[in-house]
Symmetry: D2
Subunit: 135 residues, 4 copies
Amino acid sequence: MATKQELIEFMRNAFPQSKSSVEEVGNLSAVVRRKIGADDLRPGGTVSGPVMFEVADVALYVALLGEIGIIPLAVTTNLSINFLRKPQADRDLLGVCKLLKVGRSLAIGEVSLYSEGSPEAVAHAVGTYSIPPQG
Amino acid sequence: MATKQELIEFMRNAFPQSKSSVEEVGNLSAVVRRKIGADDLRPGGTVSGPVMFEVADVALYVALLGEIGIIPLAVTTNLSINFLRKPQADRDLLGVCKLLKVGRSLAIGEVSLYSEGSPEAVAHAVGTYSIPPQG
Amino acid sequence: MATKQELIEFMRNAFPQSKSSVEEVGNLSAVVRRKIGADDLRPGGTVSGPVMFEVADVALYVALLGEIGIIPLAVTTNLSINFLRKPQADRDLLGVCKLLKVGRSLAIGEVSLYSEGSPEAVAHAVGTYSIPPQG
Amino acid sequence: MATKQELIEFMRNAFPQSKSSVEEVGNLSAVVRRKIGADDLRPGGTVSGPVMFEVADVALYVALLGEIGIIPLAVTTNLSINFLRKPQADRDLLGVCKLLKVGRSLAIGEVSLYSEGSPEAVAHAVGTYSIPPQG
């Protein structure tokens, strides 16, 4: 297991250019926040798909490391995302992850993405991480 | 919208051979129950994948018709299922569906499947239904 | 690796009630055939979703065992299926699998499903199998 | 239908900052090329997941517009991606899309992603686009 503070430091060191930050972690769950800037938008003023993918993936990663400890080599093997509603261009994106299973070699979780302040999810993702064997 | 009683009758008439029954419906959600018999098992005493697929699909269908009314021609366009834990051979399977979005032509929902009496899901599915245009 | 003859015998013994048969296997691929009977149909004369799921899953399993040998405990962890066209009620269903990757602990493949005699796929699936550690 | 030249111009105007370019389009298929730079890499020298997601999504979009003509408001509703092998940091990424179905309101396609020069796919995606009603 890793604490919120350990994860904040690990993410800052491992992904210094990341625009996502750890809000909460623990109990098989995590919340991450992503600042949205001009680079993240698509024509029409909506957040791009790759940015939403990224937030879902980071939320899964943080929730998983919160559970198994800092094992950086955990890698995404599958991520399936459904786009539900148009995100707001001027709001942070929040990724709320709940792990469905953490096995010996695989972990599966779901993530709901929200534009901050809106109650309805803009996207929903389910992803699988492969956990490398620990020596 | 359709009531629980309307859905019970519709399902009984439209799918008379179905082993699934409607337990709850409403508020963008549904619960269906599936009796498990010898035909539904795989070697090793676990419930077969197609049976779990079927329960997920029925739960989505019931939740959707509860919301939009009895529109039988709604059809599944995609269903993605993750198998999490071994279901129990001697327990009913429960499918608990929550719709994530009901649009004009598409609806998306998630389903957690449980062996009755166990708190941890045996599978988790996300599916999309296509809603035919209404005259 | 397992030959077509070995797989035909294994499947017959392990799943004696199965309606699917092995047509081809080898080179990271497989073809399975599924007889369609009255029990497999939905109102409107189309093949039910769970039957299509089953054929996709069997095709993946056969292709995988053809590659890694008869390791019965390989289990599906995820299967995502898109329904493309209405299958024909009076034709066998063919599942054509191509493995995309066979790793140490995970294998991933795609399956196209056809009503025999029609060139366009009725469904397309992508699935992941977990391969148990070999002593 | 839209020609390769029309799509090159449309993409350049609509997404001027995009690093992807149209290589081929037609016959329900497309090939797009993505330059990989320092910003696209993850620790360990691999291409980031969001970049692979983006290439898959662009390849689907280009193949679809090649088929239905320049209808910019087509939007991704679902994208499921499997990561198969580590992409190379110093090679362009190629996205090869084949549409599986183009219906009235939905289109579905699959995309294989390659590091240029390597025969084995680094990722495989399946995605669905929603096509807006045409006046």
